[in-house]
């Protein structure tokens, strides 16, 4: 695995200028950066769409937990000599199924659901740390797992990410409308014949896949930067489902690419930049929504 120090020596010559064309050429001159941009776009597409539903359903905590579950997956895979990607996906999807299986239904299920999620999260983090301690001296990739790194993305990884995203988004397109119904209005959806429980399980698994993809860039601790922040920004700006979904994907894409470029030029962690860009957008959107709301009220009152 490549190290951050190596990236520093590459990027040392790169200086940001006002010539955007030159900047772009600089950023894309190395294969590992091109891979990172493509993989980032794939992850953004997936996280923007799946994350929008996470925000609507109020499942951001479940998203964070699935990321914590991906951590022992990745560290365990490295310990066993497998690709981290295998661990990310395997554990995130298994974690999603576990949460769905343990979560109770019925009245008050919501609160107990969050308790289940919390229990799974604690166990996952402990397990991840256990694998790290088994594997002596790989602390440099530990920080990569937790806070993200884009250097190790190979062409094969990009292929795996793209195929997974295609499958996941295909499934999401099939269940999109019933999922929307089950998310905002589960009891009426049930009466209308939507298999609410099955749809929720499928959604958690898709969420697990999205988490595994995002973990590649942001690290497991900053997954929400890609999965939740763009979606929350879009939701603050519009209550139209179709516009919100498209906006969420677009914002995720801008966030990832801007974050990657900033990381390249500053030689600082990509997780930090992706999160900062996303959060700035979120702050702006909330401010705009608040000003717009006050303005509308004044117009209505007048």
């Amino acid at each position: 695995m490549l190290t951050e120090a190596w990236a520093g020596s590459v990027a040392a010559a790169a200086r940001l200028s006002w010539d955007l064309h030159r900047d772009l050429r600089l950023v894309l001159q190395y294969p590992f950066m091109r891979n990172a941009f493509v993989a980032g776009a794939v992850a953004a597409l997936m996280c923007g769409a799946i994350g929008w539903f996470a925000v609507l359903r109020g499942e951001t905590y479940a998203a964070h937990t699935l990321a914590s579950v991906a951590f022992p997956g990745a560290s365990g895979a490295v310990y066993l000599g497998l690709a981290p990607l295998v661990g990310y996906f395997g554990f995130a999807v298994a974690g999603a199924a576990l949460i769905a299986w343990l979560s109770p239904l019925g009245p008050g299920g919501g609160e107990r659901h969050s308790a289940t999620v919390g229990a799974v999260q604690a166990m996952a983090l402990a397990l991840g740390f256990w694998f790290v301690s088994l594997y002596q001296g790989f602390l440099s990739s530990l920080s990569g797992f937790l806070f993200g790194s884009f250097l190790g993305v190979t062409r094969d990884d990009v292929m795996v990410l793209a195929i997974t995203a295609l499958l996941a988004l295909g499934l999401l397109a099939i269940v999109g409308r019933p999922l929307l119904f089950a998310s905002v209005d589960p009891r009426v959806a049930e009466a209308a014949g939507v298999p609410v429980r099955a749809v929720s399980l499928l959604y958690l698994i898709l969420l697990g896949c999205a988490v595994a993809e995002a973990s590649q860039f942001t690290g497991v601790l900053l997954v929400l930067a890609l999965l939740v922040v763009p979606a929350a920004t879009a939701s603050a700006l519009t209550a139209r489902p179709s516009v919100g979904l498209v906006l969420s994907v677009g914002l995720a894409l801008v966030t990832v690419w801007a974050g990657l470029a900033a990381a390249y030029f500053t030689n600082r962690p990509v997780g930090f930049w992706v999160t900062s860009v996303g959060f700035a957008g979120y702050g702006l959107a909330r401010g705009t929504a608040s000003v717009r709301g006050r303005w509308t009220r004044r117009v209505v009152a007048a």
Binding site: V184, V188, A189, A191, A192, R240, G244
Partner: protein, 296 residues
């Protein structure tokens, strides 16, 4: 709901494309014979006999925990009866749910729910269908149908008087406004039977009367309306039939025969007086309020 609706448009006319539509007035919509309900191992009620015909406005009354909501869920086939037979729209419960509009108890959306009221109404039409709607693509390639559906949606939203706030996020509008949009959601699929669980709960008095009047109009258009309530007085003037479920027993029939001082006192096991006002309206006095029955 603006009381001065320009043309008194019937729900049936407002809804196109024409679907199965309401059945002829007088046909039985719900037939219950000796129905008993059990939940969590506890007997809720038994011996419920009732026949509800098309276009009737029916209230299911009784204290909290008596099994009123369970009865609605039984009509949807979501809760099996413990005994007796139950027929809904001529078949066993659950078979004809696409002809039933359902509004569960006390759904309120907090301000974090970022989806428009009209989107929620639209889910009443096609929310159960697989796939993902692409409004932009449909507007371009299937314009005629798209616009027809849009008109239908607008009509139903106008029918419940929600046009002014239908485009706002559901979490931002008031409880009464949410309730009207939810009724629109239940109405939009042209149901023959409308089941509403406590639709007047949490509404202030003018809103209660507005919603009750709206429901009566809907039933006058041939849609059977069954609502759960625990206070009978705001709706008593509109009802064709009442079903009382109290303390394990059930009693159904037209309000004049069921709502009498003797019947209610016997059901509740407490003195209750039914008074007829000078205008001929019934008023129930001394009905044990919901609070004293909260322990269940």
């Amino acid at each position: 709901m603006s009381p001065a609706h320009p043309e008194r448009n019937s729900v049936v006319e407002a809804l196109d494309p024409p679907g199965p539509g309401p059945s002829p007035v007088g046909a039985p919509t719900v037939v219950a014979a000796g129905v008993a309900a059990r939940a969590g191992g506890r007997l809720l009620f038994e011996g419920l006999d009732a026949t509800v015909t098309a276009g009737q406005f029916v209230a299911v009354l009784g204290p909290n925990g008596a099994g009123k909501s369970t009865f609605l869920r039984m009509l949807l086939g979501l809760h099996p009866p413990a005994a007796g037979s139950l027929t809904v729209l001529g078949e066993r419960p659950g078979r004809r749910n696409h002809d039933i509009g359902y509004l569960p108890q006390r759904r309120s959306f907090d301000s974090s729910v970022r989806i428009r009221g009209v989107d929620l109404v639209r889910l009443g039409v096609d929310g159960h269908r697989w796939g993902t709607p692409l409004p932009l693509v449909r507007r371009l390639f299937d314009r005629a149908r798209f616009e027809q559906e849009q008109r239908h949606l607008d009509d139903v939203v106008a029918r419940v008087g929600a046009t002014a706030y239908g485009q706002r996020a559901i979490g931002e509008v008031s409880g009464g406004e949410q309730q009207r949009l939810l009724i629109a959601q239940a109405l939009v699929r042209q149901p023959r039977l409308l089941l509403l669980d406590e639709p007047l709960d949490s509404l202030d008095l003018p809103n209660q009367q507005g919603v009750a009047a709206l429901l009566q109009q809907i039933s006058a258009d041939g849609v059977t309306v069954v609502i759960v309530a625990h206070d009978v007085n705001p709706i008593l003037g509109y009802l064709d039939q009442v079903i009382y479920i109290v303390g394990g027993r059930a009693l159904a029939g037209p309000p004049e025969t069921v709502i009498t001082t003797e019947n209610l006192s016997r059901l509740y096991g407490a003195p209750i007086e039914v008074i007829r006002t000078s205008s001929g309206q019934l008023v129930v006095v001394g009905q044990p309020d919901a609070a004293s029955f909260h322990a269940h």
